[in-house]
Symmetry: C2
Subunit: 763 residues, 2 copies
């Protein structure tokens, strides 16, 4: 029989060997700011636990279970884990955080520890059985589960080149079974490296006591999260596994199959019985303590090391026998109970394993990061002080107690999560609106698939209902023609004008000659001359006085440099407001002002700008942000000069100094929410315009000279400048002044009204 | 009181002076190929005459009235006239054309001449009254009505700078009344220049006879289309006009106000009474004979001359008195009855008028074409043989009779109209799909406004129902997300694949390194390597054999030169078909083959190509066409070389020689309609794919190895390559082989189902 090693080498598919699918499930207790178990309910913002794919509760109402979907790379899994943490940490009350280690804080009386308040009776019942058998406290031990699936095409290629198996399912199960057996034999190494539950409060154990102050992993030891000793399941063959597991349930040693707390669980089926026909689809590795040094419980390097470890378990020629598995379990138990700063009893075997893993990398053209994973593990094997558990001891000693140590980290991670609420950690490369929408979908429990990150293309699923979203608010709810209308300023104006709305009078010209010939139409007016399609202010001339023919011609020439069509429009004085129209409502209105500082009579403009730029909303390097820093470049300095200032000038107290003419957010402008200040007559006008265009989502720009006077049919209070498709949402969410408006949730509500209806029904 | 001339010069708005709005209504009899009045019904393709804005019937069922909307330039009016003619001529039976002169052919018995079969009883009643009063024959005289409106802003500017009128309406009415009076005084000049009804068959008059063989205009003479002599209406003032007209009706001399056949009619009101409050909105000039030398009854130059004439009528200081008007009418009657080859009795006044018109041009910076209009008129004034009527006489003499002359022209215009059915005359600059859609809308009677020609943006209106269409089939019926999905090939594939459709296996890579590392996935397959977004075949490599690693890498490099993302896909052998999906149906399936010729054993490839290129479907210079000519460029010659040919080779009889690898129509490929040959199972698949994507209109490209075998769930007969938004429609309408499919009418039906429901109800 050819080994995997032989097959890989024979068919020369090194790259394929490293292809796999990963999924993480991470438990963690909610903790209050003074280190108590949070007794608040699972936040209702998380929607319904009956279906939530990412945020669940485990045993206890206070025990969050954060879940990633299966993803084809470690980087993606880690990013998802980060994102789900971000959502969880920002949603739970501000004074709560997530306990970052496996062993719990000092717990209240068992009676007070709340069992998860689930809808399904059998789920609650199961937790009651566990309470009875293990006590609630033991169920509060948390950990990370690591789901691992080999690439399907890799398995196919290996299968096609071997001769011992005549069906792919059996071949695959063989691979996973081999992996499992060897994993159980050698997993002590992972406990050595990743063990991270060195101690626990004395109150945790009522009838026993850990014999030493620190161990590598209480959780992985027989003091930890293990079945009662009469539970015995064989991994000899798939058949033996299924039958012995069924036997344990039949005998009543286990209430259900899922009560079997093995380090490895076979996945892809609902009941073990099905494994006999379907085989093993993937593995769930369950033996990992929370790593408190990583904000999400497991570092990327650890995820990669576990991957390499799993690959090595199928790479080696031998498959562990039942006896060897037993030996392995004993070694693991011993390792778990070692003092973290002690050299491992099995150091020699450990170094040998790492040596062989490195050889595997050499044979298969392993990546740089794979090598450095192994090298780091070797360093820890040689020097136990580098292990997580040993580093935790330093931290605990420094902070005075593991409680203080853990709480400090919990608070630190919470602080980081709430620092930039406009970013979704792990997805910072996406547009901000997409980040916010993703955040809301993860929070609400809508399944998300990132179809194309570069293109901001999401697939959202709830039950059988699928919706696609591009750039945060381009959806199936909008008609195709609406954005096409809005894309064409002339067409938009014609349509809105025909429907009776006031638009700036004006015409489009496609030749300079035609434009010049029409001067007579404008010579008595304030006008704007602008290229038809440009959006960045290039080529625009504004005449706040009636133009001379010469200046008018010059303005046309400038505009024609930017576009083959030029608009000449009436200039409308007044303040411009952005109305965000969403499904027949106006949930947000924004006033944008040019970059500015307010003097205090003491600081220079340069200093005032520096202070204003400290606002985290104005962004940091590598982070997208809802506002931008004010630059002091050529344009700003010119603008200052025009007002008689330099950057060193000290403006009088309360005087506003503008640094830009344009009010774009992108050039340091301020955003001011005025949703509640603008009257209904204007909102209705924006809604009606949106309806005329046929848009569900649009950004309507109105010039309003005085918003305190209601607009009427006789005295229209506004002129409409533009209607924008795919209007920005993030600038409404986090504003310089006023109340932030979360529009992304409104988009989800438009797409999945049933989710909100359900909520109403449930209340 | 300041004159218009003074005002124009004072406020220096020469360009404004020439701004106006024009609308044309043109009557014309349908004639059979042997010169008889066509007795067929008004074609039902023209939809419903209750609302048709462009194609109506006048007095007789056989008398088409073709109408343009009001448009702001002569060029646009002329284009519309051309387009409406195109639609009319292509829709009436193939053996019918439109009689191009004002006086009818030899008419059948009065009893046989059909009155227009209109729905409204009052409309039929009115025609019966006319029959009784004038006889049917006189009602068959046809002409052109010219609607003329001064630019509103021009009127405003003039109004603002005068002091005699205190409301704009009165000022405007004064202008139009002045224009009218002077027009009536001088219109003999237009009759001289434009008179075009020199003779008629003897059978036309039963109780009188034209005293000479040829006159300038029977129609404009007292033998023509005039009221009975007791009808007398005053143009002295608006009040006098209204009251005298009402008096004529009251006295029973006119059955209705509209029976008043004046050379000028005041428009903008339903009843004359309203003129007293609303004033005159615009004028309808009704005195023009059909010009047989123009396919649409009036040349562009004539339209411009009339415009200049009208402007001159308000430019001159004087306003004709009632006596002068009477003189003018007499001069007009005399002019109409002159022999066309005779010098005008009023040549001196004519030359003077033209001289003064030219002075007006000099004062107002008139355009070159305006000058040449005047110059041409002057030539005709000096040399009567250059007038239309005189030129008609030459034609009549040449053809033997006015009947033969007229019929020959009618047939010529018909021939030109049906020659390029894929073009809509007057709108050739639009995309072909938009031309076809416009054609259908004009035919069906849906009101069309060209919002942006460059952008192919149409506004369609029926009753209160408005729809917008861009590029022929981008509409409100499609959802916004559907084209966004189709625009992204990777997303489309993921979505169709997730829905259970077979797509070419493959992946997207954003770096060369990633692409190369995935070689193992493809080394055993036929593949295509292509840039993600390019559409023109650039950077695509096809491996019909399994690729070597080196060739694979090279292909990736080539593709990455075109795009930052590259797709590697399974190559699917078989034939590619384009399924056009429209609103849940597949009205057209097209097979496209590369440019080719079929040998006859005698001609060279060069000769065969030349013959194939003669097909009018392959286009002419300046005309868009559904197929393209085959080039004999570098690529074609290389392709021939590969097959052992040169352009001078003589292929064997019936052998097919391909000149291109790619099957694009744009490089001379053939289009073959196979809609009826492809089975329902494939159509259903395409419909379902379109549904999954959420598209109402899409072009689904399927590879089908054998379309004779139905596709089943177990044995899928196809692989889907792409889904295309805004799929081309013209290539289905006019095909190289097979039946053309008119998809544009289906688009209209999707947009305005009520129009089709109405039809069903009416039947």
């Amino acid at each position: 029989m050819k080994t995997v090693k032989q097959l890989i080498q024979e068919i020369d598919i090194n790259e394929a060997f490293y292809q796999a699918v990963f999924g993480i499930e991470k438990e963690g207790l909610r903790v209050t700011s003074n280190g108590q178990l949070a007794l608040t309910k699972h936040p209702q913002e998380f929607g319904n636990r009956n279906f939530h794919p990412y945020i669940q509760t485990d045993f206890s109402e206070s025990q969050l279970e954060l879940i990633t979907p299966p993803l084809p790379s470690i980087q993606e899994s880690y990013n998802w884990m980060a994102a789900v943490h971000d959502v969880a940490l920002q949603t739970i009350p501000l004074d709560e955080s997530i306990w970052p280690i496996s062993m719990p804080m000092v717990l209240p009386d068992e009676a007070i520890i709340p069992i998860a308040k689930l809808d399904k009776k059998e789920d609650v019942k199961y937790r009651e059985v566990l309470t009875h058998k293990y006590g609630k406290k033991k169920q509060m031990i948390s950990g990370v589960h690591y789901n691992f699936e080999l690439d399907d095409q890799l398995i196919l290629r290996l299968y096609e080149n071997q001769t011992d198996f005549s069906d792919k399912n059996s071949f695959r199960s063989m691979l996973y079974l081999k992996l499992t057996k060897n994993f159980l034999r050698y997993r002590w190494l992972l406990t050595y490296l990743l063990g991270a539950s060195p101690t626990v409060d004395d109150s945790f154990f009522t009838d026993q006591e850990i014999p030493q102050k620190y161990v590598r992993s209480i959780r992985s030891s027989h003091y930890g999260y293990v079945n009662q000793s009469e539970v015995s399941v064989s991994f000899n063959s798939l058949e033996d596994y299924v039958h012995s597991l069924q036997d344990m349930v039949k005998k009543g040693y286990l209430s259900e199959e899922k009560e079997f707390y093995s380090a490895v669980r076979f996945r892809g089926v609902h009941q073990a019985e099905e494994l006999l026909t379907k085989g093993i689809s993937y593995l769930e590795l369950r033996s990992f303590d929370l790593n408190p040094f990583d904000p999400f419980g497991m570092s990327k390097q650890t995820m990669e090391f576990i991957h390499l470890f799993c690959l090595y378990m199928i790479w080696i020629d031998e498959t562990a026998t039942e006896d060897e598995i037993k030996t392995g379990e004993e070694m693991n138990g011993l390792t778990a109970m070692e003092h973290p700063e002690e050299t491992s009893k099995f150091q020699e075997e450990g170094l040998q394993l790492l040596e062989q893993m490195e050889q595997m990398l050499q044979s298969t053209n392993g990546s740089k990061s794979a090598y450095s994973c192994i090298q780091e593990a070797r360093k820890q094997m040689v020097d136990p002080k580098r292990t997580i558990a040993a580093r935790m001891i330093s931290g605990i000693e420094e902070e005075g107690s593991y409680i203080a140590f853990s709480l400090a980290l919990a608070k630190q991670y919470k602080k980081e999560a709430v620092k930039r609420p406009y970013n979704l950690t792990g997805f910072e490369q996406l547009e901000m609106s997409t980040q916010l929408l993703l955040f809301d979908a993860l929070q609400k429990g809508i399944k998300v698939e990132l179809l194309d990150a570069q293109d901001q293309f999401l697939k959202l699923t709830f039950n059988q209902h699928i919706e696609y979203v591009k750039n945060g608010n381009m959806t199936s709810k909008d008609s195709y023609i609406a954005p096409l209308i809005m894309e064409n300023k002339t067409v938009t104006k014609k349509i809105l004008n025909a429907a009776g709305f006031r638009v700036p009078a004006g015409e489009e010209y496609t030749t300079l000659v035609d434009g010049i010939a029409a001067f007579w139409r404008y010579e008595q007016k304030q006008i704007v001359v602008k290229p038809k399609s440009t959006n960045y202010g290039l080529g625009i001339s504004v005449f706040k006085q009636t133009p001379s023919k010469k200046d008018y011609e010059r303005a046309l020439e400038i505009a024609f440099k930017e576009d083959s069509a030029v608009l000449v429009e009436e200039y409308i004085p007044g303040t411009e407001y952005r109305f965000f129209v969403l499904d027949g409502e106006v949930p947000a209105i924004l006033l944008r002002t040019p970059a500015n500082v307010v003097g205090d009579g003491q600081k220079t403009i340069k200093e005032l700008v520096a202070i204003k730029n400290e606002d985290p909303l104005r962004g940091e390097a590598k982070h997208r942000s809802p506002l931008e820093r004010i630059e002091l470049g050529e344009i700003e300095q010119l603008m200052l000069k025009g007002q008689g200032y330099t950057v060193e000038s000290i403006p009088e107290a309360d005087s506003i100094v503008y640094l830009r003419e344009n009010s774009n957010i992108s050039t340091g402008g301020d955003s001011i929410d005025v949703t509640d200040e603008i009257g209904e007559s204007y909102k209705q006008a924006a809604i009606e315009m949106s309806r005329i265009i046929g848009a569900k989502v649009s950004g309507i720009d109105l010039i309003i000279p005085d918003p305190t006077i209601p607009s009427t049919q006789e005295h229209l209070g506004y002129t409409v400048l533009e209607a924008n498709f795919n209007p920005a949402m993030h600038m409404h969410a986090y504003v310089y002044k006023g109340k932030g408006r979360r529009l992304t949730m409104g988009i989800l509500k438009m797409l999945f009204p049933e989710l909100w209806e359900m909520e109403t029904t449930n209340q």
